[in-house]
């Protein structure tokens, strides 16, 4: 019996296996951000230290105002203390730290792959659920809690149960105006927000092969929204080309050694998965969410669903609670939903390809909503500016900001007012996620830009008909 991609990587990192199947895993890379700054004094108080600081990378992202260029620009208080706290820990323990004035600064899940910290075949953790993002490069990457973060800081290892494996095959190819975001929303809609709980999900199939690295990262990013801590894709030529030459990637003989190993990281043809699902990539349309779980997603061409048509009373109640919170009525066309604010950014969709997709829609048009465009890193921002994307956004009346998590989690001052409705490229439409009483519709960057220039949820394919022909 062959091995899955996941098991191949897992087995290489097992230090010790208990009789009950729990293993002590070696962790190759650990990423951290500002919200963890309090954990460093905590391990110190236990007489512990950072075991392998050269494998730890810190970057402030959650608490960074997108109008601030330096720490001094952050208003005094807990936001600044958090950013300063991480810097102090980096100074004390000597781990890598990309501060606000460093071009490499940005959202931890954008920075990792961009810097070559994330590589195929490794284990990578971060105290953030969207660490699943990094699996797009063909590694085991997962989010952990703060007690586990302390454990990795102190030992560079982690106790884990081996998850079950699921393969999601997306056949065919994606149509015009359809991106990684639409694929993952279609996946979550299909399997449910708890459909991946207990699993590591490997994505495969021609539609995945055809996706860019950015699209794959979006796909793996939101795998946690299907309940799975791990999403991963076998490394291919695109992955290897992407990694080559990045600052922390291996070079010379080590690169040669790595490439040979990486090319063997595929699920064997006779590998057995605990669960298999197939989706038709040709059938996936631009998606939007209408409720307070990412599983409440539909093609933008459809209408708000009617809970009365659901047979399960618990599901019915859940749907109705979403409709009440979102102030939506069954039967209304999704494309009639008016939007107050558009947010283009977050670890889900703030990479250069995402900004290009949004700019292609914004070009020559005017935003009818408040629109924030927040690049994922200083390097993404520079690249976008070199391509003139910032000018396109500004001429469309959109705001061009400094990198950070921004309105995805609303911890940096960027937020919605109670009752305000957003079209957002972030990953969570939970109640109050973007500010107390906020209402969120999740969608792709192109769809977000379409909502901005029309003032309501819109099918980007209609808007881009001319460009298409």
């Amino acid at each position: 019996m062959g091995k899955t991609l996941f098991h191949k990587i897992w087995d290489e990192h097992v230090i010790h296996e208990r009789e009950d199947g729990n293993v002590l895993l070696y962790i190759d890379r650990h990423l951290t951000h500002d919200l963890h700054h309090r954990l460093f004094p905590l391990i110190k108080a236990q007489g512990l230290s950072v075991k392998e600081p050269d494998k730890l990378f810190g970057v402030p992202d959650h608490s960074v105002p997108t109008t601030a260029k330096t720490v001094d620009d952050i208003p005094e208080g807990e936001m600044r203390d958090t950013v300063v706290g991480l810097q102090k820990a980096a100074d004390e323990y000597g781990f890598h730290h990309f501060g606000m004035t460093d071009d490499r600064h940005g959202i931890v899940h954008v920075v990792g792959p961009e810097q070559g910290i994330t590589l195929p075949g490794i284990t990578l953790v971060c105290g953030d659920s969207h660490t699943s993002t990094h699996g797009a490069l063909g590694c085991i990457a997962f989010g952990i809690g703060s007690t586990e973060v302390q454990h990795v800081l102190a030992t560079q290892t982690l106790w884990q149960r081996k998850p079950k494996t699921m393969r999601i095959t997306v056949t065919g190819s994606l149509g015009f105006g359809v991106s990684g975001k639409d694929v993952i929303l279609a996946v979550i809609r299909a399997i449910g927000a708890a459909g991946g709980t207990g699993y590591a999900i490997e994505y495969a199939g021609s539609a995945i092969d055809g996706m860019s690295m950015e699209g794959r990262m979006t796909l793996c990013n939101m795998t946690i929204e299907a309940g799975a801590r791990f999403g991963l894709i076998a490394p291919d030529d695109k992955t290897i080309t992407y990694c080559k030459g990045r600052p922390f990637a291996p070079t010379g003989a080590k690169w040669e050694q790595a490439e040979v190993y990486w090319r063997g990281l595929v699920s064997d043809t006779d590998a057995a998965f605990d669960h298999e699902i197939t989706l038709d990539g040709d059938e996936i349309a631009p998606m939007v969410t209408w409720g307070n779980s990412p599983q409440w997603a539909l093609p933008v061409t459809e209408t708000v669903p009617d809970p009365a048509r659901e047979s399960d009373p618990l599901v019915q109640a859940d749907m109705q609670a979403s409709l009440d919170y979102m102030e939506l009525k069954p039967g209304m066309a999704l494309s009639e939903i008016k939007i107050d604010t558009v947010f283009i950014g977050a670890c889900t969709n703030s990479r250069i390809e995402d900004l290009r997709a949004a700019a292609a829609v914004a070009k020559g048009r005017k935003a009818k909503t408040r629109t924030l465009v927040v690049p994922g890193s200083g390097l993404v921002k520079k690249q976008a500016e070199a391509e003139g994307l910032d000018t396109i956004f500004l001429e469309a009346g959109m705001e061009w900001r400094e990198p950070g998590c921004s309105m995805c989690i609303a911890l940096n001052g960027d937020m919605l007012a109670p009752g305000e409705r957003a079209a957002s490229t972030s990953n969570r439409n939970f109640r109050g996620r973007q500010g107390q009483g906020s209402r969120t519709h999740l969608l792709s960057p192109a769809m977000a830009a379409a909502a901005a220039v029309t003032g309501h949820l819109s099918d980007v394919r209609d808007l881009m008909k001319e460009e298409r022909s």
Binding site: E78, L119, S293, L314
Partner: protein, 208 residues
């Protein structure tokens, strides 16, 4: 395997139980993001649990179940599917323990939240969707009814004295029964970790 007790061991526990009839109750509901920079030492920390469900924007209380006596102060929650999905924030367990909550019973849990519970001495118990719905209904019908949990025998007794058996990973059970923290356990493996690193570096020089 060695390790010193660091957490309050979980053996048996009985309490008034609180029915939480919310599917996919994410960790943003359990603790809204804007409180993530608050220290657990804050005297008002316990108020943050399920904050936006319990308090109106003006700070006054809603009629949410956990606000109502005799549910207020209940230390076992019975929830619906996918309790604790979403963000990895361990604060979602800190606010449970700040209120004395020691067990959550649900049909399924967010994987990261489940692990965070174990690491903090909170017992997550998985029962079927039907059993959880039955328990929640009984708790709604008999406010103040208790649930009794016995981790050693992996069973709980509902308000009507029905016994439910549950499964739990052997390692998780061991840690909870003895109040062990992982670092204490892992430090006993220092030699094995060193040996592994030597072997790993030889095979995967590129990754080190």
């Amino acid at each position: 395997m060695s390790g010193k007790p660091k957490l309050e061991p979980f053996t048996t526990f009985a309490s008034v139980a609180v029915p939480i009839d919310i599917a996919n109750c994410d960790t943003d509901q359990i603790i809204p993001g804007r409180f993530l920079r608050k220290s657990a030492d804050d005297p008002d920390y316990h108020r943050i649990l399920l904050h936006d469900l319990r308090f109106k924007p003006d700070g006054s209380e809603t009629d949410f179940v956990y606000n109502r006596p005799p549910y207020r102060g209940g230390r076992i929650f019975v929830a619906d599917i996918n309790w604790g999905c979403g963000s990895s924030r361990e604060h979602a367990v800190s606010v449970l323990t700040a209120n004395g909550v020691r067990s959550v019973i649900a049909p399924s849990f967010g994987d990261i939240h489940y692990n965070n519970c174990i690491k903090n001495g909170v017992l997550p118990i998985q029962l079927s969707s039907e059993d959880c719905a039955t328990l929640r209904r009984q708790l709604r019908e008999s406010p103040g009814a208790e649930i009794a949990v016995d981790l050693e025998t992996q069973s709980l007794t509902g308000p009507d004295q029905t016994r439910y058996d549950f499964t739990i990973d052997a390692f998780d059970k061991h840690r909870l029964l003895n109040g062990l923290d992982d670092v204490g356990l892992t430090l006993a493996f220092e030699d094995e970790i060193s040996a592994f690193k030597t072997k790993y570096a030889a095979k995967h020089d590129w990754a080190t």
